[in-house]
Amino acid sequence: MIAISDKSIHEPMLDIFIFETLKQIEQLEQLVICNEKSSCYTQNSINEIFRIMHTIKGSAAMMLFDNISALSHTIEDLFFFLREEKPKDIDCSGLSDLVLEGIDFIKIEIDKIKNGHESDGNAEELTKRIRNFLSVLKNCENPLAISESEKQTQDMRTQYYISQDKKAAVSGKNGYKAILHFDEGCEMENIRAYSVIHNLRGIVKELQYIPENIMANDECVEVIRRDGFVIFMKTDLSYEEIEEFLQQTVFLKELLLTRLDNAEAQEKFLIDKRIVLEKQETLAPKLLKEEVVVSSGQQQSLISVNVNKLDKLMDLVGEMVIAEAMVVQNPDLGGLELHNFQKAARQLGKITSELQDMVMSIRMLPISATFHKMHRIVRDMCKKLNKEVQLELIGEETEVDKNIIEHISDPLMHLIRNSIDHGIEASEERLGKGKPQSGTITLTAQNAGSDVLITIKDDGKGLNRERILERAKEHGLLSKPESEMHDKEVYSMIFLPGFSTKDNISEFSGRGVGMDVVVKNIEMVGGSVSVESTPGSSTTVTLKIPLTLAIIDGMNIKVGKAMYTIPTISIKESFRANERELIKDPNGNEMIMVRGQCYPILRLHERFKVETDIVNIHEGIIVMVENEEDSICIFADELVGEQQVVVKTLPAYIRNKGKIRGLAGCTLLGNGSISLILEVAGLADKR
């Protein structure tokens, strides 16, 4: 037997399964949260949730993830009931809790599957609770409704068919008994039996069958599997004709057809047992009235592409940009007059950059999915902490590189948790301060040049300068006297490792692993984090993130034999300095005076311990780079030139040693040598 679980079919399907299920789970989560907010579930949403659970159940069963399949089946049953019976007074919040718990379970399992682990989660306890929830609902329901549906099954117990043409009914001259056995594993044997009966209706005059109650499914499926499906019929057709007809049955394993004599036949067809079949036909459609599900309106004429292919494409374009530089800037061409070559090279350059833009844009995704995930966080936090918080989303259509989106989800989650836990006050406290009872968190995304700014603003109590300073002192985090620090510097200290002002560590945040992890994550994608606060009224955290990671404009500089690349965007100016402009601060740090302002000098050869002959300030070049408000002057041997560079991560054996502050990655230059890409924020940071 070839099962779907066989590796050959399993493997290619797994990706699709994971992708689709995750997408559906996300949609489901949104639905649940939206519905909970509007205080109860609309018929459309119930349909939609039912449909999603149904799909996941089916797919998971195909992949043999029985735990997921069983859980989705239970939720599907619950929503089937809601859809059909439309019970009043549902415990909406309890319902949402259950479904969300289910969603979490499936998420965790999918994650395991994704990472190549066994999906070994057990949802039995949750399944039981969902069943209980359903049975409570059923019991609350109008008992009439139940007895009615029971009556339906009663009606279906004795199924006879006699031809509509009643006069002809008695005239069937041949009586037959047929025993049908179906193939093992074909499922729903009762309906297969029913299907046979349905088709026979067209050609036989009268028929009767055992088991009679084919729709009272469980036992009768068993009976058919064990004893076969027995049909007695009266017809004008010959034995051969009936046999041929029955042989067409799908999944028929065995057919036993025998002729009945008249007495036997009469006995089987007692007139008073006859029930005209039409009556029953109305039953099935009744359940289907609402099968025409209103759509979510999300279908687009898009194709889905494996992300790995996109990453590969991106890599290839990156390689091409490098290769182009290698050709155009090839040292062999030095000093040659190559008119036609230059023309062709320009054309190549144009196409390369268009191609690159295109690939970039393919990888851009709106940030909305990430933003919407936050609804769930807000909901759960509010419920646990008993606070009231509204989440407002602005600019969710802003597009960001897919890789970056993946990296900002966790930091955002953490910041939102922090806002609710530490920032926003409890309702009574808010009312006492004359604020609206319910707090608001505003999540904004906007484009700013080659960056995206994401702000998380809450209207809570703001940051407390005194307490931050106190805590910083306790942990020895102060780098200069308190009085010299302006608010912004004080507030920024919450991002230092090991900082947490909340004395009671809560379940959600404040384990002291918080903010510095946020910073690390954001810095990993080349972004930065800053915070502002108005005591008593608001806190705003701003994440500044590059639109894309992969290809940047860079200025190549040389130090000794080493090459470095500075992102052009952060360069303010470059110039040759004079010894006279140098100043030393009391600690011996070099500073330079430019237009009446003092900037620290960073000697790259010292920072990275590179040997070079150029150590006198007037021999080399100064590149002034900007990071937020701070600017520093980088001292290097010489400028080499500007070009687009493809950012590559440092090799794993270097990364494993921990993040190297001041280096964002590396790149290949036109001549094939490696250049290290400087990370300005890391260089400016003196920690």
């Binding site: 689709e20 089916g58 089946h73 309906i191 349905h198 729709m215 999944f251 099935a284 289907l288 599900v293």
Partner: protein, 120 residues
């Protein structure tokens, strides 16, 4: 080669059925993700046989079955159902579905069903 149209809202299911059928000498000529598109595709492609999911957005499989059968009384449609959908499968059978398969299904059962329905 027999031409098959797959109607299912789950990409995973479409891909699974497609893989199974293509490995067994069927040609999948079209895929549709809801009943409405299924009807359109049927009219356009005239497939030999259709596999039709029951629960779909826009238009469910049973409605689509009825409409296709009205358009082409000879249409051969196999329902793709799941446990618990017995009443709907019954309705589908009454409405002219040639047979049905039940999720989770095995490759050989799918192929067997198609062969039988196509009289192969």
């Amino acid at each position: 080669m027999k031409r098959v149209l797959i109607v299912d809202d789950a990409a995973f299911m479409r891909a699974s059925i497609k893989l199974m059928l293509e490995r067994n000498g069927f040609e999948v000529v079209g895929e549709a993700e809801n009943g409405l598109k299924g009807i359109e595709c049927y009219k356009e492609l005239k497939p030999d046989v259709v596999t039709m999911d029951i629960t779909m957005p826009e238009l469910g499989g049973i409605e689509a079955l009825k409409i296709i059968r009205e358009y082409d009384p000879g249409a051969k449609i196999i329902m793709v159902s799941a446990m618990g959908q017995e009443p709907m499968v019954m309705d589908a059978v009454v409405s002219g579905a040639k047979s049905f398969i039940v999720k989770p299904f095995k490759e050989e059962l799918v192929v067997q069903t198609l062969n039988k329905v196509l009289g192969l």
